[in-house]
């Protein structure tokens, strides 16, 4: 089995494309769970809500912030659908329409 490495901090903000080359958004968050004693990335969050989550959830509680026309969606993509390249390329193995898009 081949072993490779990727730097999470360098993948951050990378444009994510689907199987047809269409841009979904930027990679903003990775969810880690401990499975069989190993900390593994189970989900990737792509889109503006994920960015908001990362830079500070407190912004949502600020007065009038909700009135701003900030796009409120993100894709939550399971690891099985994501291909991480060592050179910082992130691609999704399925078409955009088949992904789980969460609207807030």
């Amino acid at each position: 089995m081949e072993l490779h490495e990727a730097h999470a901090e360098r993948l951050l903000g990378t444009k994510v494309r689907d199987v047809n080359g269409e841009v979904l958004g930027r990679l903003e968050e990775m969810i880690v769970e401990v499975i069989d004693g190993e900390p593994v990335v189970t989900e990737f969050h792509v889109g503006p809500v994920a960015l908001l989550e990362r830079i500070g959830g407190f912004l949502e509680h600020m007065p009038y912030f909700r009135l701003l026309p900030f796009p409120k969606w993100e894709y939550r993509i399971p690891w099985t659908d994501v291909e991480l390249g060592e050179v910082g390329r992130v691609t999704v193995k399925v078409a955009k329409e088949r992904l789980r898009r969460v609207e807030e």
């Binding site: 089995m1 081949e2 072993l3 490779h4 490495e5 990727a6 730097h7 999470a8 901090e9 360098r10 951050l12 903003e28 968050e29 990775m30 969810i31 880690v32 769970e33 499975i35 190993e38 900390p39 593994v40 990335v41 189970t42 989550e53 990362r54 690891w79 991480l84 060592e86």
Partner: protein
């Protein structure tokens, strides 16, 4: 419980086994495996990794100069994830950071520059003062 890798780990404060600050998480290394989810293998603590987030050329330039400072320098210091535990917003290491090159740059700056500034305090003074405070408490 799920962890948000970027929001909860990246740039968070590390403390060593003695409760001393041991830098911040500058990078996270994922191990990519065929047919398995990416594993969080190491946390990196190093100015090289931090610079690499802005420019790889700058990071390589820094690493080249850092290598001159001795054995084990010039590459980012890696902490295996298994040696880190989460306690609220801080991440605790199960070893003493003083025996690692984590604070090598700060130590070099202290010895070469800070301690030569009139009325500045060295590391020994700080340790003595902290010990005195703890003793008084």
């Amino acid at each position: 419980m799920p962890i948000r890798l970027i929001a909860d780990v990246l740039d968070e404060q590390l403390v060593d086994v003695h409760g001393e600050n041991a830098g911040r998480v500058d990078g996270i290394v994922l191990e990519l495996r065929d047919g398995k989810p990416p594993r969080v293998a190491y946390l990196e603590v190093s100015p090289i990794t931090l610079l690499g987030r802005f420019s790889l050329r700058l990071a390589h330039w820094y690493a080249r100069h850092d290598r001159k400072f001795g054995e084990g320098r010039g590459v980012p210091f890696r902490v295996p994830w298994s040696r880190v535990t989460r306690e609220g917003p801080t991440l605790e290491l199960d070893f003493d950071a003083d025996v690692t090159p984590i604070s090598a740059l700060e130590d070099w700056l202290r010895v070469k520059i800070v301690e030569h500034i009139p009325f500045s305090r060295g590391k020994e003074d700080e340790t003595r003062e902290r010990g005195g405070r703890n003793g008084a408490a």
